[in-house]
């Protein structure tokens, strides 16, 4: 009797694990999906980003910008230079991502960007610099790193004539941005510094090569059109993104990933079904006498089938419900761990600031119901053969058993 109860509990536990895993993984990927959608949604809707192609060595030059400017629907093309560097002020140093571009259109490209103090750097200003919030006010210090009007040194290391050289130049702080935090963009704006395009070109010695071009179109409805036209003109030389395609790209990858994860998790449920089959089969064997009795007393085949299928269904139902609940908790746990792992990794990549640490999982009723239905279906399928066997037992033979 106790053995039977233990077996039932173990069988249900198998379903709980399978359903729980499915729920947790599903919730995590949906959460990530929503989060990234939100993040990339902050890129201006009428902006097209042109970046160097991943497979090609074609550079982005002034000529690229000229061609792009002539495309129908383009309002303005803004080339920029972007490099990692170090900033020094009054003895302290910090790593920073430097972008040089015409800053007059910065708000069209990143609509949520705001100035806290001062002004943007003028297009021809060769010594002006605008700082992201965490550069000017580092979170681990009481005193600011720099203020409006401070003089900073930007330095970066490069190879010139086979020798490692460090270039330095001084800049004056013209403006400081508001803190964007993690609700900002996929760029670590808080840890960036912005200068004019000519200043960056000359300091980083890029000689007419750009890191990318931000294209502002006449309206959001033109963005896709402009993007296709640019793709048509340049083929695979450049990667062209609109905020919409960027979101779609990420979401497609995420979608495929979540299907993969979901399939892996569903395998665990299928494994559970083997357990259910074994458990129910053993149960039928053990209850042969009982089945004979039920038949003697007039229970029809269908009735016996119903008894055992009913047990299988109950296992699926209870296991699925518990699995949904356990999965919610499991998903949160896994998201916390994933976030901590991500912090470790991204803090090295984004120069000290973890832009995403914890992405909360997101659960929908549809997912719960689907996983519940799946658990029940798997359990019923697993129980079908043992139940059928039970219904077909010869009562005379069955009654002989002890």
């Amino acid at each position: 009797m106790r053995e039977r109860r233990l077996r039932a509990i173990l069988t249900i536990a198998m379903v709980v694990i399978g359903a729980g895993l499915m729920t947790a993984l599903n919730g995590m990927t949906t959460g990530m999906y929503n989060y990234l959608g939100g993040q990339f949604g902050t890129l201006g809707a009428n902006v097209v980003m042109v970046l160097p192609g991943m497979e090609s060595t074609t550079r982005i030059t002034e000529q690229t910008a000229t061609v792009i400017k002539r495309v129908n629907g383009v309002k303005i093309a803004i080339p920029y230079v972007q490099k990692a560097a170090t900033v020094q002020s009054a003895g302290a140093a910090a790593s920073v991502l430097v972008t040089g571009s015409d800053q007059r259109y910065l708000n069209e490209i990143f609509p949520t960007l705001k100035l806290a103090e001062g002004t943007l750097v003028a297009p021809q200003d060769s010594i002006g610099i605008m700082l992201g919030h965490s550069i000017a006010y580092p979170p681990d210090r009481n005193t600011p790193f720099a203020r409006l009007g401070s003089v900073l040194t930007i330095s970066f290391t490069t190879i010139k004539e086979k020798q490692q050289v460090t270039m330095k130049r001084s800049f004056v702080v013209r403006g400081i941005l508001e803190e964007m935090g993690t609700s900002g963009m996929f760029l670590p704006v808080d840890r960036m510094a912005f200068m004019s395009l000519p200043a960056a070109t000359s300091f980083f010695d890029t000689a007419g090569d750009y890191s990318g071009i931000n294209v502002i179109t006449t309206g959001p409805e033109k963005a896709e059109q402009v993007a296709s036209e640019i793709r048509r003109l340049f083929g695979r030389s450049y990667e062209v993104y609109t905020s919409k395609t960027l979101i779609q790209l990420i979401q497609n990858i995420l979608g495929a990933f979540s299907v993969f994860l979901g399939s892996v998790a569903s395998v665990s449920l299928i494994v559970a079904s083997v357990g259910i089959f074994a458990g129910l089969y053993t149960s039928v064997m053990e209850r042969t006498r009982e089945i004979g009795l039920l038949k003697a007393v007039g229970l029809k085949k269908r009735g016996i089938l119903g008894v055992f299928l009913g047990e299988a269904t109950l296992i699926g139902l209870i296991g699925g419900l518990l699995g949904d609940a356990v999965g919610v908790a499991l998903g949160y746990g896994m998201a916390v761990i994933a976030g901590q792992v991500r912090s470790q990794v991204t803090s090295e990549m984004t120069m000290g600031e973890a832009s995403i640490s914890f992405v909360p999982p997101f659960y929908t009723l549809e997912n719960f119901l689907f996983i519940l239905a799946f658990s029940v279906a798997v359990s019923m399928l697993a129980g079908a053969y043992p139940a059928w066997r039970a219904s077909r037992l010869d009562p005379v033979v069955a009654l002989r058993k002890e």
């Binding site: 009797m1 009795l293 038949k295 003697a296 007393v297 007039g298 229970l299 009562p395 005379v396 002890e402």
Partner: protein, 232 residues
């Protein structure tokens, strides 16, 4: 007694095939059983007693021959109809393991009525009445494991009567009991037979049990050797 027998068997045979060998368990049994009879079937091991009982109880089909109950050919029915017949017209009492061990006594007794679709309140009341009748009115919610052998057989009797059957079939109903308890059970069955007219057919190897019945059918090698009437 009425002119038409309740049960009539015509040349009933049952042959089991084991491997390539045919084993004739029953070799042409013809008998009549009237309403209200309290009879026993006796014989040595292998005489075919249990086989005959299984056939009368529609748990098995004959190789040849027919069984008429209330004038109707029993085995013209399909399996579902036979299940129905067992449920509504028959009661079974086995030597042991009559009951579902994990269910309460009252649920065990109600089982045939539940299968017949009787509503819960009615069948529970009916089961309660029957259990009181067999002297177990105070043990309704107990599990069979908490009862003695004799008590378990009483529950089996109550269950057998649940759907008010024509016939109760007992396969060595006192086989596992001591002689005193066994006699009590036989007395119980006899009183029910006298009160309700339910036919009791008991397979037994115990002559004391056989002597309590009205008619003893002796089987030998799958055939009726003789029929004995018990006076009184």
């Amino acid at each position: 007694m009425q002119s038409d027998p309740l049960i009539r068997t015509e040349n009933l045979t049952k042959t089991y095939r084991i491997g390539s060998i045919d084993f004739p368990a029953l070799n042409g049994v013809s008998l009549d059983i009237d309403r209200g009879e309290f009879i026993s079937i006796v014989g040595p091991s292998g005489s075919g007693k249990s086989t005959l009982l299984n056939l009368l109880g529609a748990l098995d089909r004959p190789t040849s021959g027919r069984v008429f109950v209330e004038g109707l050919d029993l085995f013209r029915r399909n399996e579902n109809q036979l299940s129905d017949f067992r449920n509504k017209r028959l009661g079974f009492i086995f030597q042991a393991h009559n009951l579902l061990m994990r269910t309460s006594v009252i649920a065990n007794v109600s089982l045939p009525a539940m299968i017949a679709g009787e509503p819960r309140a009615r069948r529970t009341k009916h089961a309660q009445d029957l259990l009181e009748k067999v002297g177990l009115g105070d043990k309704l919610t107990r599990k069979p494991t908490e009862l003695s052998g004799g008590e378990q057989q009483r529950v089996a009797v109550a269950r057998a009567l649940m759907n008010d059957p024509l016939i109760v079939l007992g396969d060595e109903p006192t086989g596992n009991l001591d002689s005193k308890t066994g006699a009590e059970i036989v007395a119980l069955m006899k009183s029910i037979n006298e009160e309700r007219g339910t036919v009791f057919i008991l397979v037994t190897h115990n002559p004391e049990v056989a002597n309590e019945t009205q008619r003893v059918i002796h089987l030998r090698d799958g055939q009726i050797s003789h029929v004995e009437r018990i006076p009184g």
